[in-house]
Assembly symmetry: C2
Homo-oligomer: 376 residues x 2
């Protein structure tokens, strides 16, 4: 039994995740496959994270997950696992969280192997929108006499939201992250190295870095905080440090910043005076699926206003700092025409801090569109 | 068995509340007395909320609570209750959440009655600092041969924090309340009657009004929102509506505001160009024990800065409104020399909203001082 926890709480998503015509047995095994997929979360880019289990006569005979781009796909891992156990794969059912590939990438097409192994039924949990799969498994496998069905797991779509967004729009899925005191103050002081959040919340913030392919900040934050933007508080599990991206109007940044001098300096990108659409396009072309924006406030403000953010992660601490002077906002105009409500907001306590996570409508609609358009 | 919930979650307080030399039996009965005290929460001003149980041979023989100023004290209610049940009060133990009074108020001194009824032991849960009790029960009862002991329940101190603060400082205990979107925006629009919080959180906000003797707002909020500041979403249980207080620099307020025209207009006070110390002194002299400050931001800002706030209640909603333009605060000076950490912060979910409650150090220190100074 694998105990795996997703980086982002999925409570609300899970409640709606399974369509009604999923049988209890299929549901059970697909959830099992999803647990295996989670082991690859954040590690498989530019590939999606995928898990698979092989089931015969109600018993699991093999399981696997995609560990890293270039290595075996989940389906192949599950088949090899079954063989290692001395099981007969022929006649089994394959549960796989993402539609099997039907084209040559760094590895041979999984559909070929499925046919060769005489797997009799395939159940998929999410579509593969990669255009190079022609024809897709959804068409190919039935034409070869294999029983193919699927139900879209929202968890599987969500797990690979960066992959879907990059493939379908050419731009990364953007997560806006902020740490705030409950009076709205965003920082506890300049250069004081004073964290607003406690260690448990900061560890959660590093789990967010684990699922990111790039982390972006504004030049002002780079100058004021001189952050490293690396994964440190959690085990990086061999993950290459995410790109560190600075956006700047002037390009004037001190040469001795950690981002320019540390062991990962080749992973730093500086974009000068570039519109957001181009910044995101550049990152998409570098295979960035998930972009984590860590501030400052002005950068987040611009991205929210222009509608580039799909998901938000707010860390709130029970502090009154008084930086944000709590001005009466009753007379101020909003930069938004309508308030943005978080979709499926979840609150999670980390010691004395609170973490609020949710999708913006932009993100929720995108995932819904994938569900509807790619999985008829 | 009474099921009573305090208006404010007490989880953290409870963990520290009982001193070690409280026997398990005393602890059990004092907690029972506290449940009865809670029934009077918010209804007894200017008196404290008090509960009492009479116990004989390990069995409860009577219970009562103070319902309203002018009516019987909790001790007397418990004695009468025991008699109604046909129990013999003589020789019993009285558990009372606050030290019995020893002076004539609107009713005779409880110490007299305790002696008369031949109660053999009295256990008190908090001190009565009212200077007219001379000598206090703590001295008087032992001198009359009654076994008197106590342990201070932090819950009992907290329940009557307004009473203690008004008696000992002449000013009310101040609770700062604010409703905020997670981007720090404080209002969703002028005159739009658009609430930031959902109905569950707003009901909790009316529970806060239930424990308040006065509710204060700034003139700008009065003009922009035209609030009623009355208890509506919860049953007022016969409570007189709290004073509604407006502070204004100019005194120029539209005469048709609800606060000046509704059924409770005699309960509205307007303070013009008055320093906070005097505003609070005026309210204290009107027997205001708990003052709930509901905004606007500038008023809260001033009160926090000058150190008049003991307790804060923040309602956070999973919304991005964009009124607070998330300005980069890294270069702004704080109006506080040090961040204020909430003492014993608690987070509580109300539907999709989050409620953060805690004391400021000012408030926590005050209660600690009462505990140490009044209950040797």
């Amino acid at each position: 039994m694998v105990v795996v926890k997703p980086s982002i709480p999925w409570k609300n998503l899970t409640q709606r995740s399974l369509l009604k015509n999923f049988s209890p047995e299929d549901r059970y095994w697909m959830k099992e496959a999803l647990k295996w997929a989670l082991l690859g979360e954040g590690l498989t880019s530019p590939n999606p994270a995928v898990g698979a289990v092989l089931v015969k006569d109600g018993t699991l005979i093999g399981r696997g997950y995609h560990r890293k781009a270039g290595q075996a796909h989940a389906e192949i891992e599950a088949i090899e696992d079954a063989k290692k156990r001395g099981e007969t794969v022929a006649g089994s059912t394959l549960y796989v969280t993402l539609e099997p590939c039907s084209s040559w990438g760094k590895t041979p097409p999984c559909t070929e192997r499925i046919v060769k192994e005489k797997i009799s039924r395939v159940v998929a949990g999410s579509p593969d929108p990669n255009p190079r799969n022609k024809p897709r498994a959804v068409e190919l496998l039935p034409s070869l006499g294999i029983d193919f069905s699927w139900e879209i797991l929202e968890e599987a779509l969500f797990l690979n939201r960066g992959f879907y967004h990059r493939i379908l729009t050419g731009k990364p899925w953007v997560i806006g992250k902020i740490a705030m005191a409950i009076d709205g103050s965003l920082s506890a002081g300049v250069g004081e190295e004073r964290w607003i959040s406690g260690i448990a919340a900061r560890t959660m913030a590093h789990r967010l870095r684990m699922i990111a392919d790039a982390i972006l900040i504004g030049a002002q934050t780079a100058r004021a905080d001189n952050p490293r933007l690396t994964i440190r508080l959690v085990d990086p599990k061999g993950k290459i440090q995410p790109w560190r991206v600075i956006v700047s109007r002037s390009g004037n940044l001190p040469g001795d910043l950690f981002l320019f001098t540390d062991a990962f300096k080749e992973r730093t990108l500086l974009f000068v005076k570039m519109p957001w659409e181009r910044v995101l396009g550049e990152l998409g072309s570098r295979d960035v699926g998930i972009l984590l924006v860590e501030g400052g406030a002005e950068v987040l403000h611009q991205l929210i206003k222009e509608g580039w953010i799909q998901e938000v992660s707010f860390f709130l601490s029970p502090l009154i700092i008084g930086k944000q002077p709590l001005e009466d906002s009753s007379t101020d105009a909003s930069f938004l025409s309508m308030p943005l409500e978080l979709v499926n907001p979840s609150w999670q306590k980390f010691d004395e801090d609170m973490y609020c996570h949710g999708l913006l409508e932009k993100g929720a609609r995108f995932l819904e569109r994938v569900r509807v358009e790619y999985a008829q």
